[in-house]
Symmetry: C2
Protein backbone atom coordinates (compact mmCIF):
# COMPACT_ATOMS: atom_id res chain seq x y z
CA UNK A 1 0.00 0.00 0.00
CA UNK A 2 1.66 3.17 -1.17
CA UNK A 3 1.09 6.17 1.08
CA UNK A 4 -0.10 8.60 -1.54
CA UNK A 5 0.74 12.12 -0.40
CA UNK A 6 -1.13 14.56 -2.54
CA UNK A 7 0.01 18.08 -3.18
CA UNK A 8 -1.92 20.92 -1.60
CA UNK A 9 -3.15 21.97 -5.01
CA UNK A 10 -4.60 18.53 -5.60
CA UNK A 11 -6.20 18.48 -2.17
CA UNK A 12 -7.88 21.79 -2.90
CA UNK A 13 -9.00 20.81 -6.37
CA UNK A 14 -10.49 17.53 -5.22
CA UNK A 15 -12.29 19.23 -2.37
CA UNK A 16 -13.55 21.92 -4.74
CA UNK A 17 -14.72 19.26 -7.18
CA UNK A 18 -16.69 17.59 -4.45
CA UNK A 19 -18.19 20.70 -2.88
CA UNK A 20 -19.05 22.49 -6.12
CA UNK A 21 -20.65 19.38 -7.57
CA UNK A 22 -22.70 18.92 -4.43
CA UNK A 23 -23.72 22.53 -3.77
CA UNK A 24 -23.25 24.37 -7.03
CA UNK A 25 -21.46 27.68 -7.53
CA UNK A 26 -23.91 29.77 -5.53
CA UNK A 27 -24.26 27.30 -2.69
CA UNK A 28 -20.59 26.43 -2.25
CA UNK A 29 -18.50 28.21 0.38
CA UNK A 30 -14.77 28.77 0.08
CA UNK A 31 -14.41 27.93 3.76
CA UNK A 32 -16.12 24.60 3.25
CA UNK A 33 -13.76 23.71 0.44
CA UNK A 34 -10.80 24.65 2.62
CA UNK A 35 -12.15 22.55 5.47
CA UNK A 36 -12.73 19.54 3.24
CA UNK A 37 -9.22 19.92 1.87
CA UNK A 38 -7.89 20.25 5.40
CA UNK A 39 -5.97 23.46 4.72
CA UNK A 40 -6.21 27.18 5.32
CA UNK A 41 -8.62 29.24 3.29
CA UNK A 42 -5.85 31.51 2.06
CA UNK A 43 -4.42 28.59 0.13
CA UNK A 44 -7.42 28.54 -2.15
CA UNK A 45 -6.58 32.03 -3.31
CA UNK A 46 -2.87 31.32 -3.39
CA UNK A 47 -3.40 28.50 -5.88
CA UNK A 48 -6.53 29.56 -7.73
CA UNK A 49 -6.84 33.34 -7.32
CA UNK A 50 -10.61 33.54 -6.83
CA UNK A 51 -13.75 31.50 -6.35
CA UNK A 52 -14.70 32.04 -9.96
CA UNK A 53 -11.36 30.87 -11.32
CA UNK A 54 -11.44 27.79 -9.13
CA UNK A 55 -14.98 27.10 -10.23
CA UNK A 56 -14.04 27.46 -13.87
CA UNK A 57 -11.44 24.74 -13.60
CA UNK A 58 -13.77 22.49 -11.66
CA UNK A 59 -16.52 22.97 -14.18
CA UNK A 60 -14.24 22.34 -17.12
CA UNK A 61 -12.95 19.12 -15.60
CA UNK A 62 -16.47 17.98 -14.69
CA UNK A 63 -17.80 18.61 -18.14
CA UNK A 64 -14.95 16.77 -19.78
CA UNK A 65 -15.39 13.89 -17.38
CA UNK A 66 -19.04 13.49 -18.19
CA UNK A 67 -19.08 14.11 -21.92
CA UNK A 68 -15.78 12.51 -22.89
CA UNK A 69 -16.05 9.22 -21.02
CA UNK A 70 -18.73 7.96 -23.37
CA UNK A 71 -16.82 8.53 -26.61
CA UNK A 72 -14.54 5.46 -26.51
CA UNK A 73 -17.54 3.26 -25.87
CA UNK A 74 -19.42 4.73 -28.82
CA UNK A 75 -16.44 3.92 -31.01
CA UNK A 76 -16.07 0.32 -29.95
CA UNK A 77 -16.25 -2.21 -32.77
CA UNK A 78 -19.56 -3.89 -31.97
CA UNK A 79 -22.86 -3.66 -33.80
CA UNK A 80 -25.19 -0.77 -32.96
CA UNK A 81 -27.63 -3.29 -31.60
CA UNK A 82 -25.18 -4.62 -29.06
CA UNK A 83 -23.93 -1.15 -28.35
CA UNK A 84 -27.23 0.24 -27.12
CA UNK A 85 -27.31 -1.80 -23.90
CA UNK A 86 -23.63 -1.04 -23.36
CA UNK A 87 -24.24 2.69 -23.63
CA UNK A 88 -27.28 2.53 -21.36
CA UNK A 89 -25.24 0.50 -18.90
CA UNK A 90 -22.43 3.03 -19.05
CA UNK A 91 -24.71 5.91 -18.11
CA UNK A 92 -26.44 3.99 -15.36
CA UNK A 93 -23.23 2.87 -13.71
CA UNK A 94 -21.80 6.34 -14.22
CA UNK A 95 -24.79 7.76 -12.35
CA UNK A 96 -24.38 5.24 -9.57
CA UNK A 97 -20.74 6.23 -9.14
CA UNK A 98 -21.17 9.98 -9.35
CA UNK A 99 -24.80 10.98 -8.88
CA UNK A 100 -24.14 14.71 -8.60
CA UNK A 101 -22.17 15.23 -11.78
CA UNK A 102 -24.83 15.63 -14.48
CA UNK A 103 -27.16 17.77 -12.41
CA UNK A 104 -24.22 20.01 -11.58
CA UNK A 105 -23.35 20.48 -15.23
CA UNK A 106 -26.94 20.99 -16.31
CA UNK A 107 -27.46 23.58 -13.64
CA UNK A 108 -24.37 25.65 -14.09
CA UNK A 109 -24.68 25.54 -17.85
CA UNK A 110 -28.19 26.89 -17.42
CA UNK A 111 -27.26 29.60 -14.94
CA UNK A 112 -24.31 30.91 -16.93
CA UNK A 113 -25.49 30.28 -20.45
CA UNK A 114 -22.75 31.74 -22.61
CA UNK A 115 -20.03 32.04 -19.98
CA UNK A 116 -18.70 28.51 -20.22
CA UNK A 117 -20.03 27.59 -23.61
CA UNK A 118 -16.91 28.78 -25.38
CA UNK A 119 -14.48 27.25 -22.93
CA UNK A 120 -15.50 23.68 -23.34
CA UNK A 121 -13.87 21.81 -26.19
CA UNK A 122 -16.43 20.44 -28.54
CA UNK A 123 -15.85 16.74 -28.40
CA UNK A 124 -19.24 15.84 -29.73
CA UNK A 125 -20.63 12.38 -30.03
CA UNK A 126 -21.62 13.13 -33.59
CA UNK A 127 -18.45 11.80 -35.15
CA UNK A 128 -18.49 8.44 -33.42
CA UNK A 129 -18.82 4.99 -34.90
CA UNK A 130 -22.18 4.51 -33.20
CA UNK A 131 -23.72 7.40 -35.10
CA UNK A 132 -22.18 6.19 -38.36
CA UNK A 133 -23.58 2.73 -37.73
CA UNK A 134 -27.05 4.14 -37.24
CA UNK A 135 -26.74 6.28 -40.37
CA UNK A 136 -25.60 3.28 -42.35
CA UNK A 137 -28.46 1.20 -41.02
CA UNK A 138 -30.90 3.88 -42.08
CA UNK A 139 -29.42 4.09 -45.57
CA UNK A 140 -29.64 0.33 -45.96
CA UNK A 141 -33.24 0.44 -44.82
CA UNK A 142 -32.55 -1.76 -41.82
CA UNK A 143 -33.35 1.03 -39.38
CA UNK A 144 -36.28 3.36 -39.21
CA UNK A 145 -35.68 6.79 -40.73
CA UNK A 146 -34.84 8.93 -37.76
CA UNK A 147 -32.13 11.38 -36.68
CA UNK A 148 -29.43 9.29 -34.96
CA UNK A 149 -29.12 12.09 -32.39
CA UNK A 150 -32.64 11.31 -31.23
CA UNK A 151 -31.46 7.86 -30.28
CA UNK A 152 -28.60 9.24 -28.23
CA UNK A 153 -30.89 11.73 -26.51
CA UNK A 154 -33.33 8.96 -25.71
CA UNK A 155 -30.68 6.78 -24.14
CA UNK A 156 -29.32 9.63 -22.05
CA UNK A 157 -32.78 10.82 -21.05
CA UNK A 158 -34.02 7.39 -20.05
CA UNK A 159 -30.92 6.56 -18.04
CA UNK A 160 -29.79 9.83 -16.51
CA UNK A 161 -33.08 11.52 -15.74
CA UNK A 162 -34.44 8.94 -13.28
CA UNK A 163 -31.31 9.42 -11.17
CA UNK A 164 -31.24 13.19 -11.09
CA UNK A 165 -34.99 13.40 -10.55
CA UNK A 166 -35.08 10.49 -8.15
CA UNK A 167 -36.56 12.35 -5.15
CA UNK A 168 -39.17 14.01 -7.34
CA UNK A 169 -40.13 10.79 -9.08
CA UNK A 170 -40.35 8.92 -5.82
CA UNK A 171 -42.83 11.47 -4.58
CA UNK A 172 -44.90 11.45 -7.71
CA UNK A 173 -44.95 7.71 -8.11
CA UNK A 174 -44.84 6.75 -4.44
CA UNK A 175 -41.99 4.48 -5.33
CA UNK A 176 -40.10 3.21 -2.30
CA UNK A 177 -36.40 3.39 -1.58
CA UNK A 178 -36.28 -0.36 -1.18
CA UNK A 179 -37.62 -0.89 -4.68
CA UNK A 180 -35.19 1.50 -6.35
CA UNK A 181 -32.47 -1.00 -7.19
CA UNK A 182 -34.78 -3.47 -8.87
CA UNK A 183 -36.53 -0.58 -10.59
CA UNK A 184 -33.22 0.46 -12.14
CA UNK A 185 -32.22 -3.10 -12.87
CA UNK A 186 -35.45 -3.66 -14.81
CA UNK A 187 -34.97 -0.35 -16.51
CA UNK A 188 -31.72 -1.33 -18.24
CA UNK A 189 -33.47 -4.05 -20.19
CA UNK A 190 -36.58 -2.01 -20.90
CA UNK A 191 -34.62 0.87 -22.40
CA UNK A 192 -32.52 -1.26 -24.70
CA UNK A 193 -35.31 -3.48 -25.86
CA UNK A 194 -37.65 -0.56 -26.44
CA UNK A 195 -35.16 1.38 -28.53
CA UNK A 196 -34.00 -1.59 -30.57
CA UNK A 197 -37.53 -2.72 -31.30
CA UNK A 198 -38.50 0.79 -32.33
CA UNK A 199 -35.53 1.18 -34.64
CA UNK A 200 -35.80 -2.23 -36.30
CA UNK A 201 -39.51 -2.82 -36.67
CA UNK A 202 -41.36 -0.28 -38.72
Amino acid sequence: MVEEQKSTEELIFNAALSVFQRKGLAGARMQEIADEAGINKSMLHYYFRSKELLFRQVFLMSFKQFSASIIPLLNQPVSWEEKIPLVAGHYISSMQKNPDLPLFIINELRHHPDEFVNIVTHNGIRDTLFISQLKEGIEKGEIRKIQPIQVMVSIISETVFPFIARPMLMHMTKLLDTNWDTFIENRKEIISEMLIKYLKEF
Copy 2:
Protein backbone atom coordinates in the same frame (compact mmCIF):
# COMPACT_ATOMS: atom_id res chain seq x y z
CA MET B 1 -59.53 45.74 -20.22
CA VAL B 2 -59.70 45.48 -16.47
CA GLU B 3 -56.84 47.17 -14.65
CA GLU B 4 -55.82 44.31 -12.39
CA GLN B 5 -54.28 45.75 -9.24
CA LYS B 6 -52.54 43.00 -7.36
CA SER B 7 -51.94 43.08 -3.65
CA THR B 8 -48.42 43.60 -2.39
CA GLU B 9 -48.36 40.07 -1.08
CA GLU B 10 -49.19 38.74 -4.52
CA LEU B 11 -46.58 40.95 -6.13
CA ILE B 12 -43.96 39.60 -3.75
CA PHE B 13 -45.02 35.99 -4.15
CA ASN B 14 -45.01 36.15 -7.92
CA ALA B 15 -41.61 37.81 -7.95
CA ALA B 16 -40.31 35.22 -5.48
CA LEU B 17 -41.71 32.43 -7.64
CA SER B 18 -39.89 33.80 -10.63
CA VAL B 19 -36.57 34.55 -8.96
CA PHE B 20 -36.36 31.36 -6.90
CA GLN B 21 -37.26 29.20 -9.87
CA ARG B 22 -34.62 30.92 -11.96
CA LYS B 23 -31.78 31.13 -9.42
CA GLY B 24 -32.59 28.57 -6.75
CA LEU B 25 -32.57 29.14 -3.00
CA ALA B 26 -28.84 29.74 -2.71
CA GLY B 27 -28.60 31.95 -5.77
CA ALA B 28 -31.65 34.11 -5.15
CA ARG B 29 -31.31 37.48 -3.43
CA MET B 30 -34.02 39.07 -1.33
CA GLN B 31 -33.20 42.43 -2.89
CA GLU B 32 -33.71 41.02 -6.37
CA ILE B 33 -37.12 39.70 -5.41
CA ALA B 34 -38.05 43.07 -3.96
CA ASP B 35 -36.86 44.83 -7.11
CA GLU B 36 -38.80 42.48 -9.36
CA ALA B 37 -41.88 43.03 -7.23
CA GLY B 38 -41.29 46.77 -7.34
CA ILE B 39 -41.45 47.22 -3.57
CA ASN B 40 -39.21 47.77 -0.58
CA LYS B 41 -37.19 44.87 0.78
CA SER B 42 -38.73 45.26 4.22
CA MET B 43 -42.04 44.19 2.77
CA LEU B 44 -40.69 40.71 2.10
CA HIS B 45 -40.11 40.24 5.80
CA TYR B 46 -43.34 41.96 6.72
CA TYR B 47 -45.36 39.45 4.72
CA PHE B 48 -43.20 36.34 4.84
CA ARG B 49 -40.94 36.68 7.90
CA SER B 50 -37.74 35.26 6.38
CA LYS B 51 -36.12 34.07 3.18
CA GLU B 52 -36.61 30.48 4.24
CA LEU B 53 -40.32 30.88 4.96
CA LEU B 54 -40.86 32.64 1.65
CA PHE B 55 -38.93 29.93 -0.11
CA ARG B 56 -40.98 27.23 1.55
CA GLN B 57 -44.20 28.64 0.20
CA VAL B 58 -42.71 29.12 -3.25
CA PHE B 59 -41.40 25.59 -3.30
CA LEU B 60 -44.65 24.11 -2.13
CA MET B 61 -46.60 25.95 -4.81
CA SER B 62 -44.08 25.00 -7.48
CA PHE B 63 -44.18 21.35 -6.60
CA LYS B 64 -47.93 21.26 -6.59
CA GLN B 65 -48.01 23.06 -9.89
CA PHE B 66 -45.75 20.56 -11.56
CA SER B 67 -46.97 17.31 -10.07
CA ALA B 68 -50.68 18.03 -9.85
CA SER B 69 -51.30 19.46 -13.31
CA ILE B 70 -50.84 16.05 -14.91
CA ILE B 71 -53.37 14.18 -12.78
CA PRO B 72 -56.58 15.28 -14.55
CA LEU B 73 -55.08 14.31 -17.87
CA LEU B 74 -54.14 10.87 -16.60
CA ASN B 75 -57.74 10.38 -15.50
CA GLN B 76 -59.32 11.40 -18.78
CA PRO B 77 -61.59 8.78 -20.33
CA VAL B 78 -59.56 7.81 -23.37
CA SER B 79 -57.65 4.60 -24.05
CA TRP B 80 -54.11 4.28 -22.72
CA GLU B 81 -52.90 4.20 -26.27
CA GLU B 82 -54.40 7.56 -27.07
CA LYS B 83 -53.35 8.90 -23.72
CA ILE B 84 -49.63 8.40 -24.20
CA PRO B 85 -49.22 11.11 -26.84
CA LEU B 86 -51.47 13.40 -24.79
CA VAL B 87 -49.29 12.97 -21.72
CA ALA B 88 -46.11 13.45 -23.71
CA GLY B 89 -47.64 16.54 -25.26
CA HIS B 90 -48.61 17.85 -21.86
CA TYR B 91 -45.08 17.65 -20.54
CA ILE B 92 -43.56 19.14 -23.66
CA SER B 93 -45.88 22.13 -23.72
CA SER B 94 -45.48 22.48 -19.97
CA MET B 95 -41.71 22.68 -20.47
CA GLN B 96 -42.10 25.24 -23.21
CA LYS B 97 -44.24 27.42 -20.97
CA ASN B 98 -42.18 27.13 -17.80
CA PRO B 99 -38.72 25.80 -18.58
CA ASP B 100 -37.27 26.46 -15.12
CA LEU B 101 -39.84 24.67 -13.02
CA PRO B 102 -38.72 21.03 -13.04
CA LEU B 103 -35.03 21.76 -12.69
CA PHE B 104 -35.86 23.98 -9.74
CA ILE B 105 -37.80 21.23 -8.01
CA ILE B 106 -35.24 18.56 -8.77
CA ASN B 107 -32.47 20.73 -7.42
CA GLU B 108 -34.02 21.91 -4.23
CA LEU B 109 -35.38 18.48 -3.46
CA ARG B 110 -31.86 17.18 -3.83
CA HIS B 111 -30.22 19.88 -1.73
CA HIS B 112 -32.68 19.64 1.15
CA PRO B 113 -33.50 15.95 1.04
CA ASP B 114 -35.82 15.47 4.00
CA GLU B 115 -36.68 19.09 4.68
CA PHE B 116 -39.52 19.40 2.21
CA VAL B 117 -40.34 15.77 1.76
CA ASN B 118 -42.90 15.77 4.53
CA ILE B 119 -44.50 19.04 3.58
CA VAL B 120 -45.61 18.09 0.14
CA THR B 121 -48.95 16.37 -0.10
CA HIS B 122 -48.64 13.02 -1.75
CA ASN B 123 -50.84 13.33 -4.76
CA GLY B 124 -49.25 10.48 -6.59
CA ILE B 125 -49.98 9.44 -10.13
CA ARG B 126 -50.33 5.86 -8.94
CA ASP B 127 -54.06 6.02 -8.39
CA THR B 128 -54.96 7.42 -11.79
CA LEU B 129 -57.00 5.86 -14.55
CA PHE B 130 -53.95 5.69 -16.80
CA ILE B 131 -52.14 3.37 -14.42
CA SER B 132 -55.27 1.23 -13.99
CA GLN B 133 -55.61 1.00 -17.74
CA LEU B 134 -52.05 -0.23 -18.08
CA LYS B 135 -52.56 -2.74 -15.28
CA GLU B 136 -55.69 -4.01 -16.91
CA GLY B 137 -53.98 -4.30 -20.27
CA ILE B 138 -51.23 -6.33 -18.65
CA GLU B 139 -53.72 -8.65 -16.97
CA LYS B 140 -55.55 -9.19 -20.24
CA GLY B 141 -52.25 -9.97 -21.91
CA GLU B 142 -52.61 -7.06 -24.32
CA ILE B 143 -49.64 -5.24 -22.86
CA ARG B 144 -46.18 -6.47 -22.08
CA LYS B 145 -45.60 -7.40 -18.45
CA ILE B 146 -43.96 -4.34 -17.00
CA GLN B 147 -44.41 -2.01 -14.03
CA PRO B 148 -46.78 0.75 -15.16
CA ILE B 149 -44.59 3.21 -13.27
CA GLN B 150 -41.79 2.48 -15.71
CA VAL B 151 -43.99 3.79 -18.48
CA MET B 152 -44.65 7.03 -16.62
CA VAL B 153 -40.97 7.47 -15.84
CA SER B 154 -40.11 6.89 -19.48
CA ILE B 155 -42.57 9.50 -20.69
CA ILE B 156 -41.34 12.06 -18.19
CA SER B 157 -37.69 11.28 -18.84
CA GLU B 158 -38.02 11.45 -22.60
CA THR B 159 -39.96 14.70 -22.58
CA VAL B 160 -38.59 16.67 -19.64
CA PHE B 161 -34.92 15.79 -19.74
CA PRO B 162 -34.12 17.20 -23.18
CA PHE B 163 -35.41 20.57 -22.02
CA ILE B 164 -33.60 20.78 -18.73
CA ALA B 165 -30.40 19.43 -20.24
CA ARG B 166 -30.75 21.40 -23.45
CA PRO B 167 -27.47 23.35 -23.20
CA MET B 168 -25.57 20.21 -22.27
CA LEU B 169 -27.12 18.14 -25.02
CA MET B 170 -26.51 20.83 -27.59
CA HIS B 171 -22.85 20.75 -26.72
CA MET B 172 -22.56 17.02 -26.79
CA THR B 173 -24.52 16.55 -29.98
CA LYS B 174 -23.53 19.78 -31.72
CA LEU B 175 -27.19 20.33 -32.30
CA LEU B 176 -28.02 23.87 -33.39
CA ASP B 177 -30.48 26.30 -31.89
CA THR B 178 -32.24 26.61 -35.21
CA ASN B 179 -32.91 22.88 -35.31
CA TRP B 180 -34.31 22.69 -31.80
CA ASP B 181 -37.97 23.21 -32.63
CA THR B 182 -38.08 20.54 -35.29
CA PHE B 183 -36.05 18.27 -33.05
CA ILE B 184 -38.74 18.55 -30.38
CA GLU B 185 -41.54 18.30 -32.89
CA ASN B 186 -40.13 15.02 -34.20
CA ARG B 187 -39.59 13.86 -30.66
CA LYS B 188 -43.28 13.91 -29.73
CA GLU B 189 -44.07 11.28 -32.32
CA ILE B 190 -40.98 9.20 -31.64
CA ILE B 191 -41.70 8.93 -27.94
CA SER B 192 -45.31 7.89 -28.32
CA GLU B 193 -44.72 5.46 -31.12
CA MET B 194 -41.73 3.89 -29.37
CA LEU B 195 -43.58 3.34 -26.12
CA ILE B 196 -46.77 2.04 -27.69
CA LYS B 197 -44.90 -0.35 -29.96
CA TYR B 198 -42.88 -1.62 -27.04
CA LEU B 199 -45.93 -2.18 -24.87
CA LYS B 200 -48.05 -3.83 -27.53
CA GLU B 201 -45.66 -5.99 -29.50
CA PHE B 202 -43.84 -8.60 -27.49
